[in-house]
């Protein structure tokens, strides 16, 4: 499951051993396409926590993580970015990006 969170709830990411955060927006086509794929990945990698952040509603977070293109899928350990995937990616690639960060 991918949990939609906002700025105020972001500590949940910072407290996660391994988290994947999908920075996206409602107007972005590739974001819409990658969302169901990420959902599939989240069902497979059950030890990883998955989040979604709407960049329009959370501009400060987007700036903090220097998001300039979306979707930006960041893999974080305790809130620290260890790997990332910018733009749409198929399931296998996403799984690899996450597993390479372990």
């Amino acid at each position: 499951m991918v949990k939609v969170i906002n700025q105020a709830e972001f500590d949940e990411v910072r407290n996660s051993e391994l988290a994947v955060v999908d920075f996206s927006a409602v107007w972005c086509g590739p974001c819409k396409m990658v969302a169901p794929v990420l959902e599939q990945v989240s069902e497979e990698l059950t030890d990883v926590r998955f989040f979604n952040v709407d960049v329009d509603k959370n501009m400060d977070l987007a700036q903090e993580y220097k998001i300039t293109n979306i979707p930006a899928i960041l893999v974080m350990k305790k809130g620290k970015v260890v790997n990332s995937q910018i733009g749409f990616a198929p399931k296998d690639v996403l799984v690899e990006v996450i597993n390479n960060a372990r």
Partner: protein
């Protein structure tokens, strides 16, 4: 929505042969490209090594292709696919206005000759973008440069003007002289666009791209939009493995993504019509085998 068995992108010899073979195998196909088929074929002066046709002009060969298609009742859908998304068990193809769905995809879009600018790949996603519609809001009240390869990108630049504080527009088309290019007018409300006739040279930056170096100046920008006519295979299909700007394939013309096949010039040299057609045949049969296997597994 209609789900096709095989979506074929490209109407050169590779795409057409793939369509013909897939049609013979009774697959529900979507052939996307140009009703004029392929400029590269039409412009060929004389072709001497196409088996069964000792000598033929490109124009005549294209006529033959057209007759072959109409005999087989294959129709061409005129559209431009900007992205192919591998959704897991199917593919979504983004057209100009509509989204298509197919169980498998054959890429036959030919070869892209334009080279990436130094720094372009490095900063992609960090200040470099290929899609104004997608990323414009991230550059609200900021300065961006737009490198446009065709006139229709002027509309994208105008859209960016609404969002950004300042837009530099570098037309890569138009007349031969800088004066011709300077004559390009893009109507904007805020009059915050500047036409730059210098050639882009390099993209530089630190954490993210912040300078576009041109033949005459260094433009300080927050983002650079590069809007090309044809998209490189790795952009067309995000996540697709490529090698020197060609799609990586095996003998069955399978790509790194299951259900996605490639044929013709896009797989690399030699850039020959009969090689492209032959690969189209192989790609279609591989797609048919993939669909059969998928059906068996349920």
């Amino acid at each position: 929505m209609d789900r096709f068995d095989i979506a074929i992108i490209g109407t050169g010899p590779a795409g057409l042969e793939a369509a013909i073979t897939a049609k013979i195998r009774n697959k529900k196909i979507l052939l996307i490209g140009n009703k004029d088929l392929s400029l590269k074929v039409k412009k060929a002066h004389l072709i001497k090594n196409y088996l069964g046709i000792p000598e033929i002009s490109g124009e005549k060969l294209a006529d033959n292709f057209e007759r072959h298609l109409s005999d087989m009742e294959i129709e061409i859908t005129e559209d431009k696919i900007s992205s192919v998304y591998a959704m897991g068990d199917y593919f979504a193809l983004q057209g100009a206005d509509v989204m298509y769905e197919a169980d498998s995809v054959i890429l036959a879009t030919g070869v892209v000759l334009e080279k990436a600018y130094p720094g372009e790949q490095e900063f992609l996603g960090r200040g470099v973008s290929y899609c104004a519609t997608c990323d414009a809001p991230l550059y609200k009240d900021k300065t961006v440069a737009v490198i446009g390869y065709s006139q229709k990108e002027e509309a994208e630049a105008a859209f960016l003007c609404e969002v950004c504080e300042k837009v530099y527009y570098l037309p890569m088309y138009g007349g031969a002289t800088p004066t011709d290019k300077a004559a390009i007018k893009i109507p904007t409300v805020k009059e915050n666009i500047e036409i730059i006739t210098d050639k882009p040279k390099e993209i530089k930056g630190g954490m993210k791209a912040d300078v576009l170096i041109t033949s005459g100046a260094e433009l300080k920008v927050d983002g650079i939009f590069i809007l090309r006519e044809s998209v490189a295979p790795s952009q067309l299909v995000p996540g697709l493995a490529t090698e020197d700007n060609h799609v990586k394939v095996n003998r069955k013309l399978e790509t790194s993504i299951a259900g996605c096949f490639a044929c013709g010039d896009i797989t690399g040299a030699p850039y020959q019509y009969i090689k492209a057609a032959g690969e189209g045949n192989v790609a279609a049969l591989s797609a048919v085998a993939y669909l059969d296997e998928k059906k068996r597994k349920g």
